[in-house]
Symmetry: C2
Subunit: 341 residues, 2 copies
């Protein structure tokens, strides 16, 4: 945990269960940044100890842990919990969804935080945005993917909810926590695996067992991470402590995206230098995946009223964002990316 010297004097102590392994300073580190900021902002009177996946509970049990009060807080990727309700996925990332900046905009200044909190109240949780990975890579494949057909029968470790789209395309999604993927890929239990992007993927060593590195991770154009807080623990806080939780989480939110952006370019260079073969997904696969995703969202809107309410707002927002970003943002970025810098 992040227990410091002043721990003994803290008036308030929380435990936070992360869904991530301690080895990933980026995604696991977000919770540590949160904890450090809470300590600093409270003058050491409010302490949050951070526990890696498996330390207090398995990676995918942290929502249960917060809901039943076993821990006061969790740091996780919301889409892991789509089995409880598909609406969880919208709080993290859905295929062909918002990018990192758009997701922050929906959360902080659109209706995102309000709608997701209304949903999370069913689980006795309050949510705070706490990091984003940016657009992820599409993962490591043992063999090349030349068309959508090559997904047939592919045993692919893929993050949570995206498996539902992969399934519709004939793939066989595998939901495996970060810390256990390498072994499965090495053993051949799975054919392919995506995790996050160059920096984390390099740490987990996937390039050693699967040479082809695909992009873009169309199912995670910007995975937002959440801090979940048990409702009773939150209600017990004073106004100042509530403000501390919110601000510490916002700090970790911006700092985590920054960390990914700083670390990914170097890692990508090293991976390519070590033989990783970068490949864009074929156009027919992208088109089919988009079509299947939209069909899935239509189905869910008919079947799940929670999904329908949140997705309707999210989809409108996504449409407006892409309209706006295509002008000055995209034109600027495209020009810069085509220069010799």
């Amino acid at each position: 945990g992040a227990a410091p010297a002043v721990h003994a004097q803290a008036a308030l102590r929380w435990r936070l269960a992360s869904s991530f392994p301690r080895s990933l300073d980026t995604i696991y580190g977000a919770a540590e940044v949160f904890s450090r900021k809470v300590r600093a902002l409270s003058g050491g009177r409010f302490e949050v100890s951070v526990h890696a996946a498996g330390e207090l509970m398995p990676a995918f049990d942290v929502v249960d842990g917060v809901q039943n009060g076993a821990v006061e807080a969790a740091h996780t990727a919301p889409y892991y919990f789509f089995g409880k309700d598909e609406t969880f996925a919208i709080g993290g990332a859905i295929p062909f969804g918002l990018n990192s900046r758009q997701m922050s905009a929906w959360t902080y200044e659109g209706n995102g935080l309000r709608l997701m909190r209304e949903f999370y109240a069913r689980y006795q949780m309050v949510s705070f945005p706490c990091g984003n990975t940016g657009a992820q890579m599409g993962g490591w494949m043992r063999r090349e993917i030349r068309s959508a057909r090559d997904l047939q029968g592919l045993k692919f470790r893929i993050g949570g909810f995206a498996g539902k789209v992969l399934e519709r395309m004939g793939g066989v999604p595998q939901n495996i926590p970060g810390g256990e993927i390498y072994q499965a890929l090495e053993k051949g239990t799975i054919d392919a695996a995506e995790w996050i992007g160059p920096y984390d993927d390099q740490k987990l060593g996937f390039n050693k067992v699967a040479p082809f590195y695909y992009y873009p991770g169309w199912w995670e154009g910007g995975l937002q991470l959440d801090l979940y807080v048990n409702q009773k623990a939150y209600d017990a806080l004073g106004a100042e402590q509530k403000a501390i939780v919110e601000a510490a989480s916002a700090y970790a939110h911006v700092e985590t995206q920054a960390k990914y952006d700083v670390k990914n370019p170097q890692a990508l260079k090293q991976l390519v230098g070590a033989g990783a073969r970068l490949r864009p997904f074929p156009a027919d696969l992208m088109t089919e995946a988009f079509k299947q995703s939209m069909a899935l969202y239509d189905e869910l809107s008919r079947k799940n009223p929670n999904w329908r309410k949140v997705y309707a707002d999210y989809a409108r927002f996504r449409s407006d964002q892409n309209l706006w970003f295509r002008f000055t943002e995209a034109t600027f970025d495209r020009f810069m990316q085509s220069q010799r810098l």
Copy 2:
């Protein structure tokens, strides 16, 4: 100012001078968000009153105000002060520089904050990132710009440092605070004006006097705003108060970009509906502006050791960022922007 009911009880009171007019809830609003968070995080024991441009001092005098201690803090666009030293501009935006996310990355997790603070120490100031506008639009023109030649003699209100590039291309840059641009454009004192983007520009009414709306704002791919704090005022804070200033500024940083992203799409639709004519800058103008910008940066690196030190790091960072963003981020965004959503 933002003085609340509890003002009388605050143990610590700061005054903050903004360079922006109160009418702009986005860019002026960032300082108000900062102030609200400081109050909440301190339980009302630390108050920051926010003063619009002209209230305590003119828009472009706020660095002097912080340096000489007339106010404890300012919220401004760093490039306004390039006349003191061109290095200021790097802290805000330079032509063909970093985009919003890349600028946050350089600041929070690259060498940006450390290098800029080292530079700002000459002005007895400590800096905190406090908002970003995103990639700005290229501004409002009374007549169409068909090639780089059309910049010859153009009296163009353009943000701070970018005027140095415009000058090299034959234009006549005008540095005018936000609150005074409309009158100059209406009177015909200037031929063209850029301010920020659809939402702010619509508020200031530029579309009423100049029909052509250009993109991208290649001189502001992501203008980062700064909170400047007087060094002595900062040193007098306790550790908890220092953490509060940092976290409140980080909160305003992420919230301000979110506000722009939420508000710009609607404003763009309204402007186009009211007759604004969207135009991309011609390719020869972009190429020439890029060339002139790089030549300017080379000159400055020879003449100004402060610039040389900071720019060397910034340029390396920009190169790596554009390498990385061109893969998964750009491919994802381009696909999304080309869909019917």
